[in-house]
Structure formats: structure tokens, C-alpha cells
Amino acid sequence: MDGNEIQGAPGLSTPASRLVPEPAAPVAAPRNVAQSSPEATAPIHRRRTARPKSRPVPLLERVLERLIHILAYTAVAAMILIFVFVAKEALPLLTSPEIHEEVTLAKMWFIQHWPGYDAPEHVWQPVSEIPKYGVWPLLVGTLKVTIIAMLVAVPLSVAAAVFVSQYAGQRTREIVKPAIEFLAGIPSVVLGFFALIVMASWFQEVFGFDSRLNAVVAGVALSFAVIPIVFTVCEEALGAVPPSYVEASVALGAARWQTITKVVLPAAAPGIAASVALGLGRAFGETMIVLMASGNAAILSANPAESVRTLSATIAAELAEVVFGGPHYTVLFALAVLLFLITFGINFAGDYTIMRMKRRMGVAA
């Protein structure tokens, strides 16, 4: 039947009787009608006159679809531009001889023996007679604040997420979730303000810190910014654990806490990891809180009670007063590149871990 239309038609060796189930089956009779060039017949006919007319030429559709397609690449463009334009300003650090007179990458990273100092030291002191651009005090400061913030935020927010998603009743949930979302909405400058004006004094009274503004104050304040992020993502991940897992576990005679620790938390692990990664990125790059609450002293020390100066705060505090295109300006942009790369790394590592966890659990497969 119509064998000439189809490639490899000889393969049609099935008896015709099997194809035509009933002798009376109304098979299209005049086969010879549509033979000549089978693929190029007229478009499908309309049946009844009352049928809607054929669609208008979708010019507008085409244009809009094109536009959507183009706009979709804005994010990619922005990403590239951010890197390019920040890196461009930092580039002289590698290439410009003028700037090399004052600062080099090596001077920034390796320990230096500065005039007037007893021993070699990492020092960040860009505005002095001999500008010193040692980045380690900034880096360590950033790490200190970040670690403190995460240590406070992660247990609290994961626990709160477990409580809200597993134990809390409908009414409790309806109070806690918007409240924490409200916390998320508090601008960081307000948190910074609160840390600076209120918290710092309290902490000093309670813990007897030497410097009112220090890594602990900044870290704890920072954790207030991180908690809602971690909580929200965690809570979502816990809520997304299929209720059927819980049912299955309960039906096997597991108590609530067993179900949570053995089924719900493992199943939500990728989401929890994602929340931590997100929170970490936020803590690392957060500017205003640390700018206001950390004391901004670039001291290289492990002591959390001392003032610290972070990468982001350094840029924010110093860029406004530097000579445009000068060595300090270039170094600050280099710090921005560093910040950018580190957050990029955190993001990437986070994504990768989550992907692997998901695959291990057979979700992505």
C-alpha cells in the first residue's frame, strides 16, 4: 500500500488482512489520488465552514519571541561585564610599571619587613608614607567574621527550619515563617546600625571586650543576615520531602524523631547544603554590616575579640578617597576581583556538592 511513498517500504511484509481489521473498514479507496508528490500536498483542510479562520500571520509573535531570546542573554552579558570591568581596573597591578613602584602582587601576598617594624609582618596600611598593601589581615578578618556568622546562623536556622516544618502546628508556622521572612527583609545597613549602636555595647558589657567593635559583634550581626537565607531554603527543602516518605517511615513504626533524623533530614540534605552555601556566599561578601560593626582595624590575629577589617569593608571605606587610577585604586579593584573569585568558588563548590548529593540519592538520575 502506498509503498512508493516511504523509504524502505519493502519491509512492509505484514499481510494486508492484518492491517485492515474488518473487511468493511472504510479504508480510503482511491489510492492513486495523492500519489504524485506525497509530502507536498496542500495544508490540512478545514472541515466545516464555521471553523475559525486560519491564524493571522504571527509577525508580532515572532518579534517578541526574538526579543525574549535576546534579552535572556543579559545576565550572561552582565556577568562577563562585571568581571571584565572590575578586572580591567585591577589589571595595572600586573602590567603598569608606575604602580609596581608602590605595590606588586608579591608585596601584597608575601610577608614584608617594613621600615619601622621590628619583624617582617603582614600589614594593611595603604594611606601612610609607605603604603602597605598586605592582604592577609583583610583575608583573615573576613574569614573570622564569616566563620563566626556561620557558626551562629547554621545551627539556629537549620534547627528552626526543622521545628517549623516538622513539629510546628499550622498556627505556629503562620507566625514564624513571615517573621523570619521579615528578618530577611531588614536592610543590612539597619542590622549594621543595630550592631553598632546597640549590640556592641551590650556585648562589651556582657563579655568585657576591649574594643567595642570586634569580630564577634560583626559576626553575630552578620548571622542575622544569614539566618533567614539558610532558614528559608532549608525549610523549603524539608517541606519538599515527599510526605510519602514520612508515611512510609511512620507506618514502619518509627517515632517522629526517628523519621526526622533518618528520613527527612537525609532526603533534604542537598537543599540544606545549598542553603549553607548560599549563606556562606552572602556572609563572605556582605559589606555594610561589617563596615559598620567590625571596628575596621586591619589586625592580623586569631582573637575574635579584636577589631577586624574585611575585604568588602575595605573597598567600601577606602575607594571614595583614593586617586582615580592610582595604586591604591588598583589594589582595591584587585581585592574586588579576589572577592568575586572567592564567592564564585563558593557558589561553584556548593552547586557541585549538591549535584553530587542528589545523584547519590538517585534523584538526578
Binding site: G11, L12, A28, P30, A34, P43, I44, R47, A50, R51
Partner: protein
């Protein structure tokens, strides 16, 4: 429309025969459906049965080019509605789908009013006049045996209907654009026996005016509802015959084994 005349159908309603010749479907280069050739007779119910993954849904979707929505899916062979190839280069997939409608396993009404659900296909087809819309919506709902149940609440949300009613609404929505063929992929598998009985009854009624092709996992349902039954196995069409024959005296032993429950 010469064929419709030749087969003594009234001039204004085409026969609705589907002729499938050497149809193969590939997903990303892997063949999922062997070359299948069959003539699906018009104005009858044809059931597709077979074990999971044998290609029933794939076959069904290739009858109205819905598989083109699946990335990496490729189709070879010829499918003709009456005498027009639906995969012709000058044939618009959108036009094909207006003549070959589809109903899915899970009822999927739009979150709009009952009226707007049924009117949707007409509106996107460019119909604007209120009065005609109203008439066509009513007629589609009547066809789907739903009119009496919903006529008082046409402008309420379709999501307020029961499962069985929603599925009939989806059928009405497909009927509104006046297709020749209606494809159904397990249309009653999510429903309880009572709603299922109503849908089956409706399918039977529809076969007066439409060609109906239905995929079902429920062999008893295929037996009850269809005039012809096609048994697929591992991507091949094993047997296609009158339902009565398939369920009393199939000619292939594979079919016999499957319908009698000898799955090995």
C-alpha cells in the same frame, strides 16, 4: 475531499480514517517504536494495549505530532488523515492538532471558568463573536455529556468540578474545535469505577461522530470500550483486529498470552 465521497460519507464530515505506514519513532537516535503500519478506521473506537514501555503513548502522540514537543524525538514514515499526510513539509503541526485532538491521563483543565476552558481552542483559533462562542461551547459540553451538570455554573472555576467531570470537561474542550479524531492516553486511569463508567459510556457515544484512539492499561476497559484493538509489544504492533476477535480468538500467541494474563 474526494475520498469522503468515495467512501460514501456525507459531504461535510470526513471519514476520519488514519492511515499509518511504516511509522517509526526515535528518541535521541534510539528507536522506541518499530515500523508500524495500520489503518485506523474512522468513526470507531480503537484501543491500544500492551505492557508498559511498549510504545503505546509514543504511537498515540505521533498521530497528532504532539511528540514534536519532546526534544530529541524523531518520526519516520507516513501518517495520513483521510488522504492528507500529517507530516508533510507544508503541513502545519498546529493545524494537525486542531483536527486531531487529544485528552490526557490526568485531567488538566485550565484554571479558568468552565466556559473559558471550552472556549479556549475557539478563541485561539480566532473566533471572537460572543453568540457563536456560546453556541459552540454548549454543543461541545452536550457532546461530552456534561452540559446538564454544569449549565448553571458555566462561569465558575473548572477546578471545582469532580475528577470525572474535569476529565469530561477536557473532552468537551477537545471537541469544541471540532476535530475529526480524538486521541486519549489512559483517560480514565485516575478515576474511580463510577467516573470511569461515565467516561467509557461517553467514548462510545463519541464514536458516532469522531474517530477515537485510546491507550489503556486496563485490558478489560479495552475490551469494553473499543471496536478494534491493537496490541503492541516492545515497540512493535503484534496484532490489530476487531476487539471481539482479540479477546476471544486472537491469531497471535503473544496476544493470547498477554490478554489471558500469561506474562511469564
Amino acid at each position: 475531499m474526494s475520498t469522503s465521497i468515495a467512501t460514501a460519507q456525507p459531504l461535510d464530515t470526513p471519514a476520519g480514517n488514519l492511515t499509518v505506514s511504516d511509522l517509526s519513532v526515535f528518541y535521541g537516535g534510539k528507536k522506541a517504536l518499530g515500523p508500524v503500519s495500520m489503518n485506523i478506521p474512522g468513526k470507531q473506537v480503537t484501543a491500544l494495549i500492551g505492557p508498559s514501555g511498549c510504545g503505546k503513548s509514543t504511537f498515540l502522540r505521533s498521530l497528532n505530532r504532539m511528540n514534536e514537543l519532546i526534544p530529541g524525538c524523531r518520526v519516520e514514515g507516513v501518517v495520513k488523515l483521510d488522504d492528507e499526510p500529517i507530516y508533510g513539509s507544508s503541513v502545519d503541526a498546529v493545524a494537525v492538532r486542531r483536527r486531531i485532538g487529544m485528552v490526557f491521563q490526568k485531567s488538566n483543565p485550565f484554571p479558568k471558568s468552565i466556559f473559558e476552558n471550552v472556549a479556549y481552542g475557539l478563541r485561539i483559533g480566532g473566533l471572537r463573536e460572543r453568540s457563536e462562542l456560546g453556541g459552540r461551547v454548549e454543543s461541545a459540553l452536550r457532546h461530552a455529556a456534561l452540559w446538564e451538570e454544569v449549565k448553571e455554573r458555566l462561569h465558575e472555576s473548572a477546578l471545582g468540578l469532580s475528577g470525572g467531570q474535569q476529565q469530561r470537561l477536557c473532552i468537551a474542550r477537545a471537541l469544541a474545535v471540532e476535530p475529526d479524531v480524538i486521541l486519549m492516553d489512559e483517560p480514565a486511569s485516575a478515576l474511580d469505577p463510577i467516573a470511569t463508567a461515565h467516561i467509557e459510556e461517553l467514548i462510545h457515544e463519541l464514536a458516532r461522530e469522531y474517530t477515537v484512539v485510546i491507550v489503556t492499561h486496563n485490558m478489560q476497559q479495552a475490551a469494553r470500550v473499543s471496536h478494534h484493538t491493537a496490541f503492541f509489544y516492545m515497540g512493535d504492533l503484534v496484532e490489530f483486529d476487531r476487539t471481539q476477535v482479540i479477546f476471544t480468538k486472537p491469531s497471535q500467541s503473544k496476544t493470547e498470552d498477554y490478554v489471558t494474563g500469561r506474562f511469564g
